[in-house]
């Protein structure tokens, strides 16, 4: 999996000399690849370039592609005007708790669904799948009422407690699919050696599932970093804001200061891109596993 290229040697070996059609098709593919790469990448370049412009240069027609002068101070101003340090700490707290919750409880539930046989299992797994297709937006308002009754509004609790209960249908599903690829004989060997069912889960399955656990961990981290709808619903005081809410409130305050808004935006985007390059394999694996197996 990942971005590896499949070996195609034997296909090439029996290739006949290329026809004009093949050559045309080859160059058409190259052209389209480059064309769409430019389309996809241009917004990023435009973001970076605009975020480094002065207030005057940004409102210039025709626009400068390379800013002159380059103003990195925009980043400094944007990041210090609002307490982005606090937002960052809050986001890390929420994300860290979410990742812990998801990694442990979704794998725990998934073990039950993947490896245990008991009446009612398929019924409950059906419910897992139903919640997978039932979007968050439907429950937005009623959940808010429940959490406000519990007195949890303007705390992190509505964002960090629910994941400890199963960790989300998507993650249960993904872990279950992964567990099913691990040979049952390994678990049986552990059982013969006197391992309890919890022991099989904890000492055998979890260590063997590191790639899948890292995948769901990264997805949870990314979600916590990017999510606006949850934090904006529950967090009220600025000292509780996460990065996403902080950026949104920054936008409403600096409505016309595009240089600052874009500097803040690209500063918030950068960690995500770094994370992607560090863990590319797991991103791809996660996306693929949602779509294919099952």
């Amino acid at each position: 999996m990942g971005f590896s290229e499949t070996p195609a040697d034997f296909v090439d070996a029996r290739r006949q000399p290329k026809s004009y059609g093949d050559i045309f098709f080859h160059w058409l593919t190259v052209f389209l690849l480059v064309f769409f790469a430019v389309v996809m990448v241009t917004p990023f370049i435009w973001l970076l370039s605009s975020s480094l412009k002065t207030q005057i240069n940004i409102f210039q027609y025709p626009p400068q592609l390379i800013p002159n002068p380059i103003v990195p101070e925009n980043y400094l101003f944007a990041m210090t005007y609002k307490p982005f340090g606090t937002y960052f700490r809050n986001t890390i707290l929420v994300a860290g708790l979410n990742v812990t919750a998801v990694v442990f409880t979704s794998s725990f539930c998934a073990y039950g669904f993947a490896r245990m046989r008991f009446p009612g299992r398929d019924f409950w797994f059906g419910i897992v799948m139903a919640t997978l297709f039932l979007p968050y937006a439907v429950l937005l308002v009623p959940s808010f009422i429940v959490f406000s009754r519990l007195g949890w509004v303007d705390t992190f609790l509505p964002l960090v407690v629910p994941p400890f209960f199963g960790g989300g249908a998507f993650n249960i599903f993904l872990m279950r699919q992964f567990f099913r690829t691990i040979p049952e004989e390994i678990a049986d060997a552990a059982r013969i050696d006197g391992c309890s069912e919890f022991g099989v889960y904890w000492r055998v399955m979890l260590p063997l599932s590191k790639p899948a656990l890292i995948t769901i961990g990264i997805f949870t981290l990314l979600f916590a970093w990017n999510d606006l709808i949850g934090p904006v619903t529950y967090l009220r005081s600025p000292e509780n804001f996460t990065i996403a809410v902080g950026l949104a409130s920054f936008r409403s305050q600096f409505d016309v200061n595009w240089d600052l808004q874009l500097a803040a935006s690209s500063a918030v985007t950068l960690p995500v891109i770094v994370l992607f390059f560090l863990a590319q394999r797991y991103f791809i694996q996660g996306v693929v596993m949602t779509g294919l197996k099952g």
Partner: protein, 316 residues
């Protein structure tokens, strides 16, 4: 149980363990199974059924968060039918879905075919095509609001450079929908990767067989790739519809539902009804409506499109 170990004898004192030892193997297995899935069951009760019950109760009540909920019978439900803003919000949501979902699907499929090619630097292209889909939603909204800026945005600059008109992307109700479709299509990386994995999973031998039978490039796509990919196309279609009906953040941040409510998508409307005008009862009814629409949509898609999907290994 006739064989007794030292452990079991030591455990005799504990009532719970005694009870457990009395269970048959089958009962123990069931018990352990439920212990493992207990977090999910509890979560389902607390965070799904609980809120659903609240929404059910509020459907028949009027509540602004401050005073006690007041019973209003079917008023919230009948109100729905005479609400021009709701009609507008449904209209724009359906139009957005109807345009963006098929377009994203075709574009993602097309890109997946492009990056399935075997070139030396193909990994770089795959990365570039995927990156837009991980940009944080808020940053994404700010970026696109700036790209679509009428006077200084890059998109209008390119259009004008080719002699086109200056388009009020975010001010003109007729253009704003297209703007939202464009920014959605830019982020198709996720479904593209799913397509790519599907394409790489098609056994090469099918293409060779088709080639020997004289199938050209298009025929191979039409008669091998498409049928083999149909489960994945179907999956992306379902997910695409569910996601498109929930478009929220970009509408909230870029246009705030405007101009002239042209981007007042359903979730944004629910959000405003609940947290703007504090009509929690009516917002609950609208949430049920969203639920019903998504259920009906899934049903139709599964019934009429799902039945045309080809599965290589049915029953897996």
């Amino acid at each position: 149980m006739t064989v007794r170990t030292a452990d079991q004898s030591a455990a005799e004192g504990f009532w719970l363990i005694r009870q457990y030892n009395r269970l048959t193997l089958r009962q123990r297995r069931t018990l352990m199974g439920y212990v493992f899935i207990a977090p999910f069951i509890l979560g389902f009760l607390f965070w799904w059924l609980g809120p659903a019950a609240v929404a059910g109760y509020l459907t028949f009540h009027k509540w602004n968060f401050l005073a006690a909920p007041k019973f209003v019978g079917m008023a919230n439900i009948t109100k729905m039918f005479g609400d021009p803003i709701l009609a507008q919000s449904l209209k724009v949501t359906v139009i957005f879905s109807a345009i963006s979902v098929p377009l994203s699907l075709v574009f993602a499929f097309f890109l997946a075919n492009l990056i399935n090619a075997k070139f030396r630097f193909i990994a770089i292209f795959r990365t570039i095509y995927f990156l837009p889909s991980i940009v944080p939603a808020v940053a994404n909204a700010i970026l696109w609001a700036w790209l679509f800026n009428t006077e200084f945005g890059l998109i209008n600059y390119v259009i004008r450079a080719f002699g086109g008109p200056k388009i009020g992307w975010l001010q003109d109700p007729n253009w704003v929908m297209l703007a939202f479709v464009i920014l959605t299509v830019w982020g198709v990386g996720g479904s593209m990767i799913i397509f790519l994995a599907g394409l790489q999973g098609i056994p090469q031998i099918f293409y060779e067989a088709a080639e020997i039978d004289g199938a050209g490039r298009w025929q191979r796509t039409l008669y091998v790739t498409l049928p083999m990919m149909s489960p994945i196309i179907f999956f992306n279609l379902v997910i695409g519809f569910i996601n498109s009906f929930q478009i929220f953040v970009s509408a909230l941040l870029i246009t705030e539902g405007g101009p002239q409510r042209a981007t007042l998508f359903l979730v944004l409307h629910i959000w405003r009804t609940a947290f703007g005008s504090q009509k929690m009862g009516y917002a609950s009814v609208l949430s049920w409506l969203l639920f019903a629409i998504l259920m009906a949509l899934s049903f139709v898609v599964f019934r009429y499109i799902g039945s045309r999907v080809y599965y290589e290994n049915p029953g897996e």
